[in-house]
């Protein structure tokens, strides 16, 4: 089993953990055999990287590759944190029991939520909803959100986590977040180990193969639904991105296959990475300012 040394730390700019995650995916894709992520020297790791790494490991496991990421690190604070959020397996809806409720109550005074995992299924699942709802409520409490900001965060999570259920096709969904009170922002990562955006279009009977991951991403940004009821569906990514970037001044990152969108105040580009590095499912990272401009109105962005 190949051992991959995890970055010692990530920095607080939005793209640093994302680039490190992309590099991790590149390295994990090289041997095409089991890997062990070595976190022993880590001191500070962004939730954006933690969530993505957990999803990468899970994706390999679901493909029969026995990769692992033990939460063993020398730094006692980080070790305690990783154990508490239950990296890399996360809390699943089967854990939505007394223990999970107790953990969520314990975390009310902290700045992070547990890593949450849920199976991909398009059928209604009250257990999944209850778990995501509980984590969403915890985030809102930790950040002290109310009014338009509260609704904006709920909208983003419901649309983007909901998309996983409808589009991923198979696999596991992930949700993780951390609030940075000094910076007044919330980092949210949402990922799945499913078929990816292009796979979702191919699997639908409404579209031909987009031809590339970049084109599939562009179609999703246009609001082209992969589902059979075209009208009024498919706006989740488009409206979420507009609301976050144009309305709140945040940052939006979406990665599927070899294509990734980065949209914030200074960038609005799709990057196509042609060195063979891929993310098989979908991975999203959001940086959400927790203080909105007085003029911000959620409904101005919802379509």
């Amino acid at each position: 089993m190949q051992r991959i040394t995890f970055p010692e730390r990530t920095y607080q700019d939005f793209t640093d953990p994302l680039v490190k995650l992309i590099d991790l995916a590149r390295i994990m894709g090289i041997p095409r055999g089991p890997v062990q992520l070595d976190l022993s020297r880590c001191r500070f790791v962004s939730p954006l990287l933690i969530c993505g790494a957990a999803a990468l490991v899970k994706s390999q496991q679901e493909n029969g590759i026995a990769s692992e990421a033990p939460a063993d690190c020398h730094d006692p604070n980080l070790r305690s944190y990783l154990e508490l959020v239950r990296f890399p397996h996360g809390y699943s809806q089967s854990d939505a029991t007394y223990d999970t409720k107790r953990l969520l109550a314990t975390l009310r005074g902290r700045t992070y939520v547990p890593l949450v995992t849920f199976p991909v299924t398009a059928t209604p699942d009250s257990g999944r909803e209850d778990l995501i709802q509980a984590v969403e409520d915890l985030m809102v409490h930790q950040c002290g959100l109310n009014g338009q900001m509260l609704m904006a965060v709920k909208y983003l999570i419901s649309e983007l986590a909901g998309n996983i259920s409808y589009h991923a096709g198979h696999g596991t969904g992930f949700l993780f977040a951390q609030y940075y009170p000094n910076g007044h922002y919330l980092d949210i990562a949402i990922a799945d180990t499913g078929q990816g955006l292009r796979g979702s279009y191919i699997a639908s009977d409404r579209h031909a193969d987009p031809g590339s991951d970049a084109e599939a991403l562009r179609m999703a940004l246009e609001g082209r639904s992969t589902k059979d009821q075209a009208v009024s569906r498919g706006y989740g990514i488009r409206t979420s991105r507009r609301m976050l970037v144009e309305g709140l001044g945040g940052s939006f990152f979406y990665w599927s296959g070899d294509a990734m969108l980065l949209n914030n105040a200074t960038r609005d580009n799709i990057y196509e990475l042609k060195d063979g590095t891929r993310y098989a499912g979908c991975y999203l990272a959001l940086r959400v300012p927790t203080i909105a401009q007085p003029s911000f109105n959620l409904m101005g962005f919802v379509e």
Binding site: D125, G162, A214, L221, S232, L273
Partner: protein, 118 residues
């Protein structure tokens, strides 16, 4: 006189229904000859766009199939606005053309340089 049936939305789907498919639950197992169906939203704080969208469709479907009006009660402002938005969208909409530049990069190092400090 035919009776009304009142469904407490919160008790069926919680106070913040997120998922599209949850909307159908509200219309399940409504049997008999009723004069109207009342969806009571008291205690519901927020609904996702997907839930609102499916609720709109399911409501129209129920009204057409059963010839029974569906009335919403105790709807807060946020829920009202979301319902209005999806109703407008369902009148028809076309995707907006998105022409974001696609930048091809050949290595993670090159990507890192491009994204530095963003």
């Amino acid at each position: 006189m035919r009776p009304s049936t009142v469904i407490k939305v919160q008790s069926k789907v919680g106070s913040n229904p997120n998922y599209r498919n949850s909307a159908d639950i509200l219309f399940e197992a409504i049997s008999g000859d009723i004069a109207e169906l009342v969806l009571d939203f008291s205690g519901v704080e927020f609904i996702s766009r997907g839930f609102a969208d499916e609720l709109h469709k399911a409501r129209l479907r129920f009204q057409a199939e059963r010839n029974v009006p569906v009335v919403l009660e105790q709807v807060n402002e946020a829920v009202q606005e979301m319902l209005s938005v999806v109703a407008r969208t369902q009148e028809g909409s076309t995707p907006l053309r998105v022409d974001i530049p696609v930048i091809r990069v050949n290595s993670v190092n090159e990507l890192e340089r491009m994204l530095l400090g963003c």
